[in-house]
């Protein structure tokens, strides 16, 4: 095992990606709940679903980026 405080910070930044997973799951789960209640409206909302997923995921990707920056700069 080796590394310095930046490696530790990169590991901590990994928590952020896990939290983004919560957000993505929340978006997809709520979409599924709504789609099961009203299946006829589901197809028209897939674009909204993907926009929501993208926004939720972007913040997790930011922390992944922070981890990369900490490890390789």
């Amino acid at each position: 095992m080796e590394g310095d405080i930046a490696t530790l910070g990169a590991g901590l930044a990994g928590i952020g990606t896990g939290l983004a997973a919560l957000g993505v799951g929340n978006v997809a789960g709520n979409y599924l709940a709504g789609a099961l209640r009203n299946p006829s409206a589901a197809a028209s909302q897939t674009a909204t679903l993907f926009i929501g997923l993208a926004f939720a995921e972007a913040l997790g990707i930011f922390s992944f980026l922070i981890a990369l920056l900490l490890m390789f700069t």
Binding site: A47, F50, I51, L53, A54, E57, A58, I61, F62, F64, L65, L68, F72, T73
Partner: protein, 279 residues
Amino acid sequence: MAGENDIVTEVPSVAESVTEGATTEHLVEGGAYPAEEGGLVFHPLDQFIVRPLFGDGPISWYTPTNVTLWLAIAVLCVAALFIFATRNRSTIPSRSQSIAELLYGFTHKMVEDVAGKEGLRYFPYIMTLFVFILFANFLGLIPMSFSTTSHIAVTAVLGFGVFFGVTILGFILNGPAFLKLFWMSEAPLFLRPIIAVIEVISYFVRPVSHSVRLAGNITAGHAVIKVFAGFAAIAVLSPVSVVAIALIYGLEVLVAGIQAYVFAILTCVYLKDALHPAH
């Protein structure tokens, strides 16, 4: 030359070939880990190192590298698909023609649904972005190939192109009224300046998140495959890791499509803001 060097004995030569002129975001030293543990003998991010196609010289902006090669291949594939698929058009489409028609119809419907009828004027731009990113993502999934969209340098050009294009378009079409985008007319008056500040910040974060999302997803996915490939060197874990690589590869095929779709649909959303800035 464009492939990745996974073999342990070749890794030191990779480390020498990585010069200081390498301009990637993922500046990895390319050094091999000690192999006595039998585990990870190459770095998972080694696959993203930019190397010159010919020789080992320093990389300038004009040097043909593996990124150049795979970007060119992506462009050629797109051009070949759409030129050859639509050469002998028929009412009953051939296989390649139906692929081209499906892509066209899919993107057309997406632009019309999200950006509205006025957005269809900018359909060629979004179609180009979508098909190019889709092909670059899928070509990156070929074993030993190079995933160009994993580099922020590549995606940032696309992302900032969309950002500047949409901003300039918004000012051309609406004039100063484009700034209404930041002024929520439904919000209570005393909250509006605060919301305006937040809106301005989120507007300028857009190109960053737009490009980092694509690059981050592709980088993370490919790195995960490589991490499991490293576990394959341990005898006990190797069956698990081979199955895991196959499953994650399937996931990555899905991600490659979805990220191209997300990039295109977010372009449509930003375009809609430029066409109708008032909330």
